[in-house]
């Protein structure tokens, strides 16, 4: 680095911490990252949530949501009537992901083949509600109502009883674990200092204290997610359960979301016929293993979409807590020498690039990017 603007310390090496580090390095800051977890806490398939938890990875002793996430990049599927900011952040992040993937190199699996929302006839109202919401909030043509042959052309194998769907051609996915690893190497190569297995005990303006000592920075950034619970009023964890299966008999081309009256369930393909199905959404900070009810709901969704899943092998189950604020929207709490970024909830991969860019720009320019002021809140308010 030929010139440096100063020093940034980041607590939390989840997807958000890593992307902020990435943009800060590009902007000319010296970057140091601390994380309680191991560098590769979830070494691929074959591990159970209990096993992963035993490794004490991520903050709070759970597999970090950044490793468990399905990595869906679906701003429109996640729309809410009251919250236009998440789809907007997600839409901007979609294009940023393409650049990030180019930048970090490696062979991280990702695609922009769109996503498909399907419905069983009895849940048609949920489907129409989503359609209405997207039509209300988007001006650009982001959605196609596909029926019959058009639906089969996209996904020839899904259950013949499913006769219509909503196709979102702009949406995509990224392999979360591959991306975490690739970002780690990229950050090291770019000159960041990464400290894993280093528990952060406090974050103050200009200072991060770990079990191994205190370190001064021009900016201290708190990206610990649930790890920040003691420092952020109103932060809560929302339990989510996922299952990964290996299904050689199934060929899905893109993430498929199944409308369901109680949960939006998604099935996300990964290379080699692996599929992630998730996620339950339960208001509890219970990190114990997946419940039978959760597993039944997720597996029923799989089976109802494609009977080929009946012979799939369950290769992993996991439980995570998504950090959410009271309005379920992300926030950047800023003060002199300290920012806490939290509340990304179910949308870590979807919105992290734009949030990371906003934070990095804020550090350089001292003000929020125009149009995004609502995300910023003065710390301690």
């Amino acid at each position: 680095m030929s010139q440096t603007k100063g020093t940034v310390g980041i607590a939390g090496a989840g997807i958000l911490g890593r992307l902020i580090a990435c943009y800060c390095l590009e902007d000319g800051w010296n970057v140091t990252i601390f994380d309680e977890g191991a560098e590769s806490p979830c070494p691929m398939a074959g591990i159970t949530a209990a096993g992963a938890a035993a490794q004490k990875c991520g903050s709070g002793g759970c597999p970090s949501p950044s490793y468990v996430a399905a990595g869906m990049l679906a701003p429109y599927c996640e729309m809410r009537y009251d919250e236009p900011i998440v789809p907007r952040l997600g839409r901007e992040s979609l294009d940023m992901w393409s650049d990030i993937i180019k930048k970090v190199g490696g062979d991280v699996f990702s695609q922009r083949a769109g996503s498909l929302v399907v419905v069983h006839q009895q849940d048609k109202n949920e489907f129409l509600r989503l359609k209405h919401m997207v039509e209300t909030f988007t001006k650009e043509p982001v959605m196609e109502h596909v029926k019959g042959a058009a639906l089969r052309e996209l996904e020839p194998e899904i259950d013949p009883r499913i006769t219509e769907g909503l196709y979102f051609p702009l949406e995509g996915q990224v392999d979360s674990r591959g991306m975490m690893a690739a970002l780690g190497s990229h950050l090291r190569k770019s000159g960041a200092e990464l400290n894993f297995n280093t528990k952060v005990t406090s974050i103050e303006p200009n200072k991060i204290t770990t079990l191994f000592g205190s370190f001064d920075f021009d900016w201290a950034l708190d990206c610990r997610g649930m790890g920040a619970k003691a420092d952020l009023k109103g932060l809560r964890g929302v339990r989510g359960e996922i299952i990964i299966v290996h299904a050689p008999d199934v060929n899905l081309n893109r993430p498929v979301r199944l409308m369901h009256p109680r949960y939006p369930l998604y099935i996300v393909p990964r290379p080699n016929h692996d599929y992630v199905v998730g996620a339950t959404s339960i208001e509890s900070e219970d990190l114990s293993e997946i419940s039978v009810r959760g597993a039944l709901e997720l597996l029923s969704a799989l089976y109802s979409l494609h009977t080929g899943f009946s012979e799939a092998r369950i290769i992993e189950t996991a439980t995570q807590l998504r950090p959410a604020l009271m309005d379920n929207s992300p926030k950047i709490f800023h003060g002199k020498g300290l920012c806490r970024i939290n509340g990304l909830y179910r949308h870590g991969y979807l919105i992290s690039p734009k949030i990371a860019r906003l934070v990095a720009s804020y550090l350089s320019e001292g003000k929020a990017e125009s149009g995004y002021e609502a995300l910023f809140e003065t710390a301690g308010k």
């Binding site: 009251d82 919250e83 809560r236 964890g237 208001e283 509890s284 219970d286 114990s288 009271m326 309005d327």
Partner: protein, 260 residues
């Protein structure tokens, strides 16, 4: 003022806590509804003992009376155990009893509900039984010790409104002294107004508010509809008839013959 389970209330609206876009909106919607009784599910938000439940902490901090429910329970045993857990967790002997008979449309199991109601009332619970609109079932629940009834208008979350007015009317007429709350299936404020005009003591809502485009405004709309419906009931509805009765007599109206 009215009374249920020994508690005096102003509001005749009870509200659920599931499926809101965020806890913040839920809180605002509950405030806007004016509801004094708020239901909370133990099973759907199930926790292992010891796990923190911030969502429950939020509810406990609100100035409302919590009515825990056994939503998601499929057997008598499960419902009874959940009720006992709720009594400890929330320090109340109130329980909204739900024993689900059909998993897809969440239709309550009448046989299991009666059996569980008996066990729970014997154990000192004040049971608010969620039930279909069957008259005989209503009788059996009262025999089991329930002091109120909560028949559905339609399946939970369907938003269909009162699908069998005759059945509900019968329950209302046959048990005039028993508080009867219409629980589940209402979609629009007008549905709630209708239920109140029929003389029911209150209405329990969740999805119609939580899934509205603006839940806070919808909570207000329901509150007003419920007030209007109740006032209408108390004011005494005029008897309806199948032909027009002009409020202004036609005889004596100048030029009446011109319309011939």
């Amino acid at each position: 003022m009215w009374e249920i389970a020994g508690t005096k209330l102003q509001s005749r609206l009870m509200i659920g806590t599931a499926r809101y876009p965020s806890p913040e909106i839920m809180q605002k919607a509950i405030e806007a509804s004016g509801a004094e009784i708020v239901t909370v599910s133990l099973r759907r938000q199930g926790s292992q003992p010891g796990a923190q439940n911030v969502f429950w902490d939020i509810l406990r901090s609100m100035p409302v009376k919590l009515l825990p429910n056994t939503a998601g329970c499929h057997s008598v045993k499960e419902a009874v155990a959940t009720a006992q857990m709720a009594r400890e967790l929330f320090g109340t002997n109130w329980i909204k009893l739900e024993v689900i008979g059909d998993d897809y449309n969440l239709q309550p199991d009448p046989f299991g509900t009666v059996e569980a109601a008996k066990i729970l009332t014997d154990d000192g619970f004040e049971v608010f039984p969620y039930m279909t609109d069957d008259l005989v079932l209503a009788e059996r629940l009262l025999d089991a010790g329930c002091k109120m009834l909560m028949p559905w208008a339609a399946p939970i979350g369907s938003g269909l409104g009162i699908i069998n007015p005759m059945a509900l009317k019968t329950i209302r007429q046959r048990f005039p002294g028993v508080p009867v709350i219409v629980d589940a299936g209402l979609g629009k404020p007008s549905h709630a107004a209708l239920a109140m005009e029929m003389g029911f003591d209150g209405v329990l809502l969740n999805t119609a508010v939580a899934m509205a485009e603006d839940p806070v405004k919808m909570a207000q709309a329901f509150a007003q509809a419920i007030n209007a419906g109740r006032l209408g009931y108390e004011a005494g509805l005029m008897p309806s008839r199948d032909f027009a009765t002009p409020s202004t007599p036609v005889v004596g109206t100048p030029f009446w013959h011109e319309n011939r």
